[in-house]
């Protein structure tokens, strides 16, 4: 058969294939440029940015666990203007769409960073992190209280015409409520899931393994949780979902798409093997060809459940 069509659209954002990288696992872009041809990716999603520069948490910031890892980086970053000055120029040399993950301490913060970054032509979409388990302020709360959640999405929506992708918190009893709320508030897409609130303790020192005490669990360990959340969210909304959580192989990505995701993000796997994202893209294309699947739409949400 002829080449399958891997194109995916999230609002006005056009990805030539459904694979991006998970925010925070790929830096700001340049860090992996030696290892990955960025223009092969459907999009590059960069580390979370807020209005002002932020220092993040003390160390240790990550800890390895069974088939996964904990992270509590705490969203350090150069702030909106710093990002524009340091990173946008780098991307002028590439064609790959740029998704910027944003967060705020207050609802106003979310609006301001969305407004500032939304005005940047080079940025293709904003991914709104309402579910960072690792910052004291706001962070997780916005992701688990549906009223606060709506205020954030409304505020961001009102401040930019760029596609906005809302990154949902996994630690809720019913993710459908949040998925629907985001759609109703005008979100162009959803990202599922963020790392899961977790903890590890050094039994000798009796101190948490992370300076922040708790952190987010990511990697293959959480994949079955992520697949279920994507499957549930996809039944609740019609806007596209970027599925993520432990994707290491093309088959993992296909599983997320069959569950209902329109696109996927490779996160922790970048640390294990920087070539994962490109390997996943090639593997999805091969799998689709082998299975006579002409387009992602034809595959998306086809789980017989």
């Amino acid at each position: 058969m002829n080449k399958p069509d891997l194109k995916v659209e999230i609002g006005s954002l056009v990805m030539k294939n459904p694979v991006t990288v998970a925010s925070g696992t790929f830096g700001y872009g340049p860090e992996y440029a030696d290892y990955v041809d960025l223009d092969r990716l459907g999009a590059v999603t960069v580390k979370g940015i807020c209005v002002e520069p932020h220092v993040g948490n003390s160390t240790p910031r990550t800890f390895e666990t069974a088939s996964g890892m904990l992270n509590a980086i705490g969203l350090p970053g150069p702030g909106a203007q710093g990002f524009i000055d340091k990173t946008i120029p780098f991307f002028e040399n590439y064609e790959v769409p740029l998704i910027v993950n944003i967060w705020g301490r207050t609802v106003e913060d979310y609006g301001r960073v969305a407004e500032i970054l939304g005005a940047q032509a080079r940025i293709g979409a904003l991914e709104v992190n309402v579910s960072c388990p690792n910052v004291k302020e706001g962070g997780a709360l916005y992701g688990t209280n549906v009223d606060l959640f709506r205020t954030v999405v409304d505020e961001v929506r009102s401040k930019t015409a760029k596609p906005i992708i809302i990154k949902l918190a996994p630690n809720v009893a019913d993710i459908k409520t949040f998925a629907r709320a985001a759609e109703q508030c005008g979100a162009d897409g959803l990202a599922v899931m963020n790392s899961y609130p977790a903890m590890a303790i050094d039994i000798e020192t009796r101190r948490p393994q992370l300076a922040n005490r708790t952190g987010g669990l990511s990697g293959p360990a959480i994949k079955p949780i992520a697949v279920k959340l994507v499957w549930e969210a996809a039944q609740a909304v019609s806007i596209p979902i970027i599925g993520m959580g432990g994707i290491y192989e093309p088959e993992d990505a296909v599983e997320f798409i069959i569950a209902g995701a329109a696109a996927v993000a490779v996160g922790t796997a970048n640390f294990t093997d920087p070539s994962t994202a490109v390997r996943v893209i090639d593997g999805i294309e091969r799998w689709m060809a082998d299975h006579d699947v002409a387009s992602i739409d034809e595959l998306r949400g086809t789980v017989r459940a």
Binding site: G27, G68, N71, D273
Partner: protein, 263 residues
Amino acid sequence: MKQEKTTVVEHRLFHGDYRQLTLAAPAIGPLVKPGQFVHLKIPRLGEAVLRRPFSIFKADEQGLAILYKSVGKGTDSMRSLQPGEPVSLLGPLGNGFPALGGGKTLPVLVAGGYGNAALYLQAKTLPVKGVAFFGGRTAADILCIDEFEALGWDVRVATDDGSLGTRGLVTAALNPWLAQHKEQFQALELFACGPNAMLKAVGDIALANRLTAWLSMDRNMACGVGACLTCVIKRKTETGWEWARCCKDGPVFNAKEIVWEED
């Protein structure tokens, strides 16, 4: 920096608790600068998502060698590596040691643990050979004495139990020597790698005596390439401090830049 599928050429006991792993790495080998490291994916450890960083001991056109010690599940399972087995590497990573500074004529190396391996290429590359101070718990911990002497270095050893050289920390050997070479301080430049406490001691001595000291730091790493911000170290700035990434901006830092944390 490259990602390369290397092959185990040789894997043998080196000295004391340390093993030497030699890998065929024609892509990475030729690029190596002294003080750089590789990020190694441990085979057959399916439950581990993170690579492990190891200083490059030796390197050439064909590949490179590392010295490692078992301290946990990753380094334990490395012990079963067989010649011919594939091993994925990222490297060479980090900034590495700088060349000898202008006007410096007496390089001094201070090493402990795998630091001896991390400093070997620097010892080989430096245009003049000076004095190398090695520290460890006991004689078995002191690596590469012959290698360094063969390069023309004057090796001084200190062991906690006195089983080799001066009894005590490496500073017990370093301090008296420094006291005798005060007049040459202008010409001195220090390069150190080893346990954190040793690096801090060397850093303090350097600052107190206005000596230039380059310290290769060890921090837990995830990505190894500067992307995840796991391995950060506080670095002085005019206004205060900033986070520097040990894997990318380091692992080698000028002692006077480092803000030492408690504990």
